[in-house]
Symmetry: C2
Subunit: 374 residues, 2 copies
């Protein structure tokens, strides 16, 4: 039937001898999967499909679906799943940009979320109480700011990320390490149902696929690949979560991490990421500012700490020297030795006071000297 | 008497009309304070001393010490203090490099520590139990590695830093915000006595000076100015400790901070420093490696976590793909698509596995591809 992407994707999924790369190339050559499959061997070959794959595909078209394919279609239909082929306009642009995007995605829920701006929020399955709290708070704030929170439906941090987004009335995407008709872990059945209702469940694995060890790293690359950046909330050393961060970095996406004390073993992985240059995330504002997302900063968020905290306290609690220097900076940029002369203080005095103003976000060190910012 | 720097510095200290800059220039022009004061007005003028200051100094030399000066000398002698003039070879080279070094330092204890390598370890007076513990551990490890721990003798983190160094059998320098004969806070009398015995107490303030608000920022610039870098253990927002960090940055020295969870108000200042680019310090090894101090790494330190942790776990707990890729990297550098062909895996697979190897410190991304490190 026209537009039945699900049947088309399953046809290609169960067609032996068709690699993921070949399937992508084939789907990308036609406006939709309907046209693609109707086109026939000559057009497929023109699209670059190898002769063997053309023959296999033609044979399958003649023969009709096999038992496995029919079972998979039945499984998908039972849960109301649909499919999003690579060539489709709704296929997520960020995912298309990774080095081996899936030739199709199976999904349940709102496919529009996949094409919108997402932030991956991930972490350990063994989450601490504070880790869970940080996750719910940050995921809630990020979701309220308009970012879809994408995670892996796992126990621990992942589950809290989805819940945090949903509880805040925001959007969430769960990338599964199973087929679209399987929920793993079982304990997250209700969560998965809520995500189908108000978010989106997605997987590249064929219907019926169970959770296998090898699925997790592949799933992780989709979590980071769908997202503008990946925020790691809690991760020990070593940790599978760090592989998601590593995939994000390899995909050219931002990596963020929540800081923890050196006494918290569950935070060691985050500290390693921070040491390696990940953006430090104390509040959602840190992520939003780093992504250049200030338009979506909810009014209250600037006051909840983090990067924006100093911005919320304009000059309050400054030392007397800093306030004096701020006054001297009113007239524009000054070299470090100019206010020194004006104020009758040493250059060191000025540097110390200016340092305080910098920390408070009230002054900025430029090439020519210090500049008042606000 | 020859070599009595203390008397000479006090003479200059109480000579009206002699600025700190003029006193520095004067002392720098002669091999020692003895020669300097004996030289007389003509030589002083040749050294650039303004005429008014020359006359004041000559008058003081004729008249002998005033009451204040005699009292200060008496105070200093009573506690066995000495003085280190700017021109002296023992004057700390790093302190000489700041923009307004004190023309002399008053000190008790071992002056050689002032010329040796120091790390400032500072933080809040209101320290948490974990902050105190982190301070004692880090200061102890840094001191054992051969760095003198320099701090401000204050309650809280400062006191723990001095104690941690002493308890580890290491060296410590306390920079006071009072005269050399005054101990502030009183509660740290025993600590100050221990530092006189096994470390060094130092101040730029004249004998008898009490703790005044304005002394603290000036003292802080000496703490950072004496040190290769400044490590902030715990600091709220706002915090005077951040001004020490700011002074360190203005002096071109490294700034380090210990990470804390976003739920710890006493750690907010540290998170702000980390966000602004301070080096993250989980263990002493992080500081030592950043300062290029690996020769002094005690054998056990590499195993206590932090930057060096991954180095201590050579390939243990790697995933199967990472182990396989590590094998493929044995023959030297490989472009990302080369092992992909050799191993029959996708480029994404390789990037993920390589990311794991990078995180474990076993492989490195170069211009031409990945390289096995160990």
């Amino acid at each position: 039937m026209p537009g039945d992407s699900l049947a088309h994707c399953l046809l290609l999924e169960f067609c032996d001898g068709l690699s993921a790369a070949a399937a992508r190339a084939l789907l990308a050559a036609f406006p939709d999967s309907d046209t693609c499959l109707a086109a026939g061997p000559r057009a497929w070959r023109a699209a670059g499909l190898p002769p063997a794959a053309c023959s296999a595909l033609a044979a399958r078209r003649r023969r009709g679906p096999g038992r496995e394919e029919r079972a998979a279609l039945e499984r998908s239909r039972r849960v109301g799943a649909s499919a999003l082929p690579f060539g489709n306009a709704g296929y997520p642009a960020l995912l298309r940009a990774i080095s081996d995007p899936p030739p199709w995605l199976y999904l349940r829920g709102d496919p529009a979320l996949l094409a919108g701006p997402q932030l991956a929020v991930v972490g350990s399955r063994r989450a601490s109480a504070l880790g869970r709290r940080a996750t719910r708070e940050l995921a809630g704030d990020l979701a309220q700011a308009g970012l879809t929170v994408t995670s892996g439906l796992a126990l621990g941090i992942d589950g809290c990320a989805h819940r945090g987004a949903l509880d805040a009335g925001g959007d969430t995407v769960a990338v599964m390490a199973t087929g679209i008709d399987q929920v793993y872990p079982r304990r997250h059945r209700d969560l998965a149902a809520a995500i189908v209702e108000r978010g989106c469940l997605v997987t590249e694995l064929p219907p019926g696929a169970g959770p296998r060890r090898s699925h997790f790293p592949r799933r992780n690359r989709l979590i980071s690949g769908l997202s503008l950046g990946t925020l790691v909330i809690e991760a020990a050393l070593p940790s599978g979560t760090l592989l998601t961060a590593s995939a994000a970095a390899a995909q050219g996406r931002d990596v963020f991490a929540v800081p923890w004390s050196r006494f918290h073993p569950g935070g060691r992985g985050c500290l390693q990421l921070l040491r390696d240059g990940a953006g430090l995330v104390e509040s959602a504002a840190d992520v939003l500012l780093a992504l250049g997302w200030p338009g979506l900063l909810p009014p209250g968020l600037l006051k909840t700490g983090g990067a924006a905290e100093s911005a919320a306290a304009p000059g309050a609690a400054l030392s007397a020297p800093a306030r004096r220097l701020l006054g001297a900076l009113d007239a524009g940029e000054r070299a470090p030795d100019r206010p020194a002369l004006d104020l009758g203080e040493s250059v060191e005095w000025v540097l110390t006071a200016a340092g305080e103003l910098e920390l408070a976000g009230l002054a900025d060190r430029g090439a020519g000297g210090y500049r008042r910012l606000r």
